[in-house]
């Protein structure tokens, strides 16, 4: 029974080794394709450098010496470009010294992971291999353990994308951003910083134990010069407006837009005391005080929005109220003059005439 179990485990390791080796072959193929494309480009550059040879020949034959000199200066310029492209091409060719490991090497790598980093998880369906780190603490802030998950089918995208994720198993995300679970991890992606080249190189060369070990080293180190969120601000909350990080006590929640703001970017309604951000607060044009939406109303006449304190019981702003008062005074004045003129006209019968039936 025990022997069967060991055999099963052994078979799994061989299967995983094969998968990893296939992924490395595919990566190598991608690399060679890149060289193939550069090869074609370089061929065009070679043609470019010598394309004027027939003009030069013709110019010499016909005795057009100044024309021949022009061709020479053009060839000289082309050669300067050509030497640059030649150098780049040489670098690309020489950089590809990666030798594919043997199956036994990959097998040994997996055994070494087991020894050094603890038992790895192999998900055949998802085609992933994962290592779980010890709980990580940086400057007394606990981040819990992380799962480093390598997607075997994505190893071939190494030059364009990251084929692994770093997943917080007991996340203690930054107050300002839930996606940042470690000063150097955002949305499960690790920014390897100084380890970028060596981590990628270890993967290229099939040194999987070195790959996982170096990722653990990055997770266990804090670089205060370049974190997504610094440890000093870890517990704080980021102001939605200006982005500065403030502690929970200095943070103000806008009840209108449901976001957090610092004291500089928030205010409160002068009527109901509701906390507001500067964007949601409305400044009454009459008293110039900030108020919330529910403490405002439109003037019935001019339809401008004012705080309710600046509107009369009739729903009018101060200027419309005054205007109405003026209008009504004028009306009253004109009404008091009207009856006199009417009586005078009727009493004198001016303009009346007798109409016969």
């Amino acid at each position: 029974m025990r022997k069967e179990k060991i055999m099963k485990k052994y078979k799994n390791i061989v299967r995983l080794s094969n998968l990893l080796l296939e992924a490395l072959c595919e990566l190598k193929r991608q690399r060679l394709r890149q060289i193939q494309s550069s090869f074609e480009d370089f061929s065009y550059k070679c043609c470019d450098a010598t394309k004027d040879s027939h003009l030069f020949y013709a110019a010499i034959e016909k005795g057009w010496l100044s024309g021949a000199e022009k061709v020479i200066s053009r060839v000289s310029r082309n050669l300067n470009d050509f030497s640059y492209h030649l150098q780049r091409f040489k670098e690309l060719i020489n950089a590809d010294e990666t030798k594919l490991p043997k199956l036994s090497d990959v097998f040994a790598e997996l055994s070494q992971i087991d020894q050094e980093l603890g038992e790895y998880q192999f998900d055949l369906k998802e085609r992933t291999i994962s290592v779980i780190t010890e709980p990580i603490t940086l400057d007394d802030i606990p981040f819990g353990p992380f799962e480093i998950k390598l997607f075997i089918d994505q190893i071939n995208k190494l030059y364009t994308d990251s084929p692994f994720r770093v997943i917080a198993l007991e996340p203690n995300p930054a107050g300002a951003d839930d996606n940042v679970t470690h000063p150097h991890v955002s949305s499960e992606r690790l920014c390897e910083g100084d380890g970028h080249v060596s981590i990628r190189r270890s993967l290229e060369q099939g040194r999987f134990c070195d790959f996982f070990t170096m990722i653990v080293s990055v997770l266990q180190t804090y670089n205060p010069d370049s974190p997504y969120i610094s440890l000093d601000d870890w517990e704080g909350i980021s102001c939605y407006d200006c982005g500065c990080t403030v502690s929970g006590d200095d943070c103000y929640y806008c009840e209108s837009c449901d976001r957090d703001y610092c004291s500089q970017c928030s205010t409160y309604c002068q009527m109901c005391d509701t906390t507001l951000c500067l964007g949601c607060a409305y400044e009454c044009p009459s008293c110039n005080e900030p108020v919330c939406q529910s403490c405002t109303a439109k003037c019935k006449d001019c339809e401008e929005v004012f705080c309710k304190d600046c509107l009369t019981e009739d729903g009018l702003c101060q200027s419309c109220e005054e205007q109405r008062k003026e209008d009504s005074d004028e009306e009253q004045a004109s009404e008091s003059k009207k009856p006199e003129t009417c009586v005078a006209v009727q009493s004198n019968s001016v303009g009346e005439t007798i109409v016969h039936a």
């Binding site: 380890g195 060596s198 180190t221």
Partner: protein
């Protein structure tokens, strides 16, 4: 004699290097990693940790990996 040296520091590289007979791993580290402290690195010979007076043999595989690598913001 010739050994395979895998240096995971900096840009990282793996290459065969020639060393004198009876070179210990401690001496090798001092030559290859000048100014560095052994405590800042994981040193493995043939995938195994070894004592610092371990004498390197022809064909050995030496791996030096930093334990502190500074991440960044991408």
């Amino acid at each position: 004699m010739r050994i395979l040296f895998i240096n995971n520091n900096g840009s990282g590289y793996a290459d065969y290097v020639n060393i004198a007979e009876n070179t210990t791993i401690d001496q090798f580290f001092a030559i290859k990693m000048q100014g560095e402290q052994t405590g800042d690195y994981l040193i493995r010979v043939n995938r195994q940790p070894v004592p610092k007076d371990y004498c390197l043999c022809d064909g050995d595989r030496v791996t030096i990996t930093p334990v502190k690598i500074e991440g960044a913001i991408c």
